[in-house]
């Protein structure tokens, strides 16, 4: 019973959604019958996800507290980072829930300019995000210097494409070398061809995986612990 129930649910819902994606008739699903059921599923299953997401958040929060709480309690390696995670998580949660500093009540906007949550967002989260992301520029510069060397025909093509795109994306490169059209062509033609090949390959893989899951062949998701 432990395995068949989730599998039956998965197969049933997946089949309904696949049918709905291809042939859901217009309307709100109140017409009844198979067509009505399919339309109803198409219109409402996605809304139900919002309800599930709330429980997923609770589950995620509880899991975070448990995992990092244990690391701190048992003084495992790098437990300090877990302590920072716990303190940050709880602080933001409390500030957000209690709507400290901002408009109170159920309908009070926690993102109001006067709220502490906005202060944390603007003064802590934003600078941290910006700092981490801006470090990429330095690593990209160093990696480009080392990677783009014309050692063979293939690497020469890569080097040429990189220089054209780098210069084609800045006004100086456009004015001096007119690389904007060539840069755009590289993105629109060879890049698109490669991207489409990847996308079609991935899509076929996803279809194969979905069929295996619907048929119950993908055991890891069926709750048997494998």
């Amino acid at each position: 019973m432990k395995r068949p129930t989730p599998q039956i649910l998965l197969t049933g819902v997946a089949l309904i959604l696949v049918v709905a994606a291809f042939m859901a008739p217009p309307g709100d699903g109140s017409s009844g019958g198979f067509a009505g059921a399919v339309t109803y599923a198409d219109r409402h299953f996605s809304s139900w996800f919002g309800i599930l997401a709330v429980f997923a958040f609770l589950l995620g929060g509880a899991s975070l507290l448990r995992t990092h709480g244990r690391r701190v309690r048992e003084r495992k390696a790098d437990w300090h980072y877990s302590a920072v995670t716990l303190v940050s998580f709880l602080a933001v949660l409390i500030v957000g829930f209690l709507k400290l500093g901002g408009p109170p009540g159920l309908t009070g906007d926690p993102t109001d300019a006067s709220s502490w949550l906005t202060t944390i967002f603007d003064s802590v989260l934003s600078p941290l995000h910006a700092t981490l992301y801006s470090l990429l520029a330095f690593y990209v510069a160093s990696a480009s210097y080392r990677a783009f060397r014309a050692r063979s025909l293939e690497t020469s093509v890569l080097l040429g494409a990189a220089l054209i795109v780098l210069l084609g994306r800045i006004p100086v490169g456009v004015t001096l070398f007119r690389f904007d059209s060539l840069s755009l062509w590289l993105l629109k033609v060879p890049n698109t061809a490669g991207q489409r090949a990847l996308m079609i390959g991935v899509a076929l893989g996803v279809v194969a995986l979905a069929v295996r899951m619907v048929l119950g062949l993908e055991r890891g998701r069926g709750g048997d612990g494998s």
């Binding site: 809304s47 993102t111 490169g173 993105l187 890049n191």
Partner: protein
């Protein structure tokens, strides 16, 4: 120059590269050089589509990013907002990312408040904010915004908001623009929104994310603002048509200065490395 010096060009310590880049970018930030851009092939269709909308037609902007990618995407949101407010198009902000509420707040605080003091929340713009679900949220909104949003971020029911008077679902929008830094984002809007619905969809994305969206242009995406340059091009279009009603130098145009300098530094180091390789190889061959 001895052979070892050419070899040295191929293995410059990365700390020198970091230092050169930092100095160049800081100098550009101090001097603030302005490089004017012109609207490109991917951006013009978005500008033209918004330009063609009748006043009062609602526009949806999905702010699917966080502060890390805001330097690239926020100028796009700002430029689109300016364009819509100038043209009298009510803007709806929502987000597939939890950080979206604050990103919308920043647009209100930095653009709408100072530049359009007469604009009223609920009439000229409305923020619906973040909802979980990604592609499922987009799918649900196709038929009805009310299926997932009971009220805006202020708690006002959708039915009482003038900016949404003409809106039931996504198909009622004149254009939907997703400014996307990853997943969920523009790809989900294309697959579950634009492809299924009957509304024009356009996008904005970070530089690293841009290549993956080119397969959707121009049939599934009306246009694409790729990275800071895309935003600068949109600002250039605004400057061309509404010079008196927008700031002369906006965020992305200002940002293109340091970006240009950074690109030139990277190109210089790439050329140095290759010069070292090329001359070194020639000398080796000459010795043989």
């Amino acid at each position: 120059m001895s052979g070892s010096r050419f070899e040295a060009l191929q293995s410059i310590d990365r700390r020198w590269i970091f230092l050169a880049l930092a100095v160049a970018v800081i100098a550009a930030l101090v001097v603030q050089p302005v490089f004017r851009d012109s609207p490109g092939e991917l951006v013009v269709p978005i500008f033209a589509a918004i330009e063609a909308l009748a006043p009062g037609t609602p526009v949806l902007i999905s702010l699917d990013y966080s502060p890390s990618s805001a330097p690239e995407l926020e100028p796009m949101a700002a430029a689109l907002t300016r364009h819509c407010l100038i043209r009298g198009l009510p803007v709806t902000y929502l987000s597939l990312w939890p950080t979206g509420n604050h990103m919308a707040g920043r647009i209100v605080e930095r653009v709408i408040g100072p530049e359009y003091p007469d604009a009223v929340e609920g009439r000229e713009w409305v923020t619906l904010g973040f909802q979980a679900g990604g592609e499922l949220l987009v799918h649900a909104l196709l038929d009805s915004l009310g299926s997932r949003f009971a009220a805006d971020v202020r708690g006002i029911p959708l039915i009482e908001i003038p900016a949404l008077a003409q809106v039931t679902g996504l198909n009622d929008y004149g254009i939907v623009v997703s400014l996307s830094a990853g997943t969920p984002g523009l790809k989900e809007w294309v697959l579950y929104g634009g492809d299924v619905g009957a509304f024009p969809l356009a996008g904005g994305c970070t530089g690293v994310g841009a290549p993956q969206f080119f397969p959707y242009y121009p049939r599934q995406l009306l246009g694409l603002m790729a990275a800071l340059k895309g935003a600068a091009e949109y600002e250039a279009a605004l400057n061309d048509d509404y010079a008196e009603r927008v700031p002369r130098v906006m965020q992305a145009t200002r940002g293109m200065g340091p970006q240009t300098v950074a690109h030139l530094v990277i190109v210089a180091f790439i050329l140095l490395g290759n010069a070292g390789l090329f001359i070194g190889e020639r000398r080796k061959r000459g010795r043989r």
